[in-house]
Amino acid sequence: MTPDHVSTKARLLPLLVLLTALAIWSLLTWLRVFPESVFPSPIAVAKGFGEEISSGRMYNDLVASLFRVTAGFALATVLGIPLGLWLGQGARARIALLPAINFFRSLSPLAWIPFAILWFGIGDKPAIFLIFMASFFPIVLATISAVASIPNVYFRVARDYGIKGFDMLTQVTLPAIAPQVITTLRVTAGLSWLVVVAAEMIAGRDGLGFAIWDARNGLRMDLLVVGMIVIGIIGVVIDRLLVQLMKIESIRWGYDR
């Protein structure tokens, strides 16, 4: 079940897939199946990489995008979890607000782009707003359902042993919902990373999304591929980082059984 049981040989398989893909890509460009202007070669992309790194632009774009995702995502988490806790416990408030939350959850965050620009202009703010809109509602909903599914016996045990008030929140409710909430954070972090690219394409002057758009406008297909590769890799890295949370000893129980 765990990757520990996979043999060293099997671990090299992804590398084999990568090399095969590179080989096919090279072959396609070498055979000139598609014109160079719409299908850049691996060598052109590698050169583009060097260009982007040495000019410092890649670093700037990366920092800009990561800052926006972190800010929007953190804001959504800090506001979404308390709201979810409150709605999870208060039936009346939940009945009142759940339809509205479901409505906004179903609304693509990209639909907010025009308003984001009108209200916040160009730069960090509209992107942060869009990321917030993408992740806030799923986080609220997941927290509500996590709170609702805490077995009643935990609260009874807590009362038996004299846990009450604020301690009930920190010692029972929060640890009980942590595994489910972390799973959602992982999903919404991925979602945020998707949204930041779209947001920067339209409402940015820097960032990886803007880099893609800029490459397209300058007909630099090699740089476009560079942007795509970086976005994909960072997305995987973010996900791997959040997976580490799931390995914390006091949280793992939620996944192992």
Binding site: P151, V153, D160, Y161, G162, A176, E249, W253
Partner: protein
């Protein structure tokens, strides 16, 4: 210190329109091990919840004395806490770090889980988990242990083993015990007094006393006799050859 831990005077309890408990009068003296058996859904757990004060009677009166702890059927441990951390919930009143440390050591030894202190519940077997629950409930200076079908989620052999374990733990840390179970053998092996409930609304059908000290073998004549008599009373075994004089009026 009063010598009676629970005193129930014509206690009834109904949920919505459903009457769960017929007027029940019951005394449980300090130190007694009482088992309540009966068909499922007959109101055994309701009785336990009334004793613990989790619910109040619809009519009648309950006097409770002593500090109580409840052991649940399963999953009463906090899965995000280790064995040691779960047990220390029962020692929250202790402020002295050294005292806490030595108590934890003693309790871990009592349930024979040395070496598992830092394990999480999901890493333990069902029997080990219930042992941790019992240790947590026995921690500190409590008087009463309320057991709500504590072994019903375990396999048969583990259940037999847990009965011996519980008897041994209670010898080291005596408590007044109320055990609710549908397992008649369990009741007969452990209790000083077995109370048999009828179908809902629950009524005491009969009581049976056992005098053999714990731990009792499953095949000890007194246990066999009690099991037979209880099953007969529930209409599950044929005629009893035993004299009815041993029955206490129910």
């Amino acid at each position: 210190m009063s010598s009676t831990i629970f005193k129930l005077e014509k206690v009834t309890r109904s949920f919505a329109a459903v009457e769960v408990l017929n007027p029940l009068t019951l005394d449980i003296p300090r130190g007694e091990f009482v088992a309540v058996v009966g068909p499922s859904g007959c109101g055994k757990t309701t009785l336990l919840n009334l004793l613990s004060g989790f619910i109040e009677p619809s009519s009648g009166e309950i006097t409770r004395s002593g500090r109580m702890r409840m052991v649940y059927q399963q999953d009463g441990l906090f899965p995000w806490l280790t064995v040691t951390e779960n047990i220390s919930l029962g020692l929250r009143h202790l402020k002295d770090e050294r005292e806490l440390e030595s108590q934890l050591k003693e309790l871990t030894a009592l349930i024979k889980l040395e070496g598992f202190e830092n394990h999480y519940p999901h890493q333990l077997s069902g029997g080990m988990r219930q042992r941790v629950e019992i240790a947590r409930a026995l921690a500190g200076d409590t008087d009463v242990l309320l057991l709500d079908e504590p072994f019903s989620a375990l396999d048969y052999l583990t259940r037999l083993r847990m009965r011996r374990e519980l008897a041994r733990m209670l010898r080291e840390r005596p408590r007044t015990v109320v055990l609710v179970t549908h397992d008649i053998e369990e009741a007969a092996q452990l209790a000083d007094r077995v109370i048999v409930f009828s179908e809902r609304p629950a009524q005491v059908r009969c009581e049976w006393r056992l005098y053999e000290p714990r731990p009792r073998d499953l095949t000890h004549p007194e246990v066999v006799k009690a099991v037979h008599q209880i099953l007969f009373e529930l209409g599950l075994e044929k005629d009893s050859q035993l004299e009815t004089a041993e029955w206490i009026a129910g």
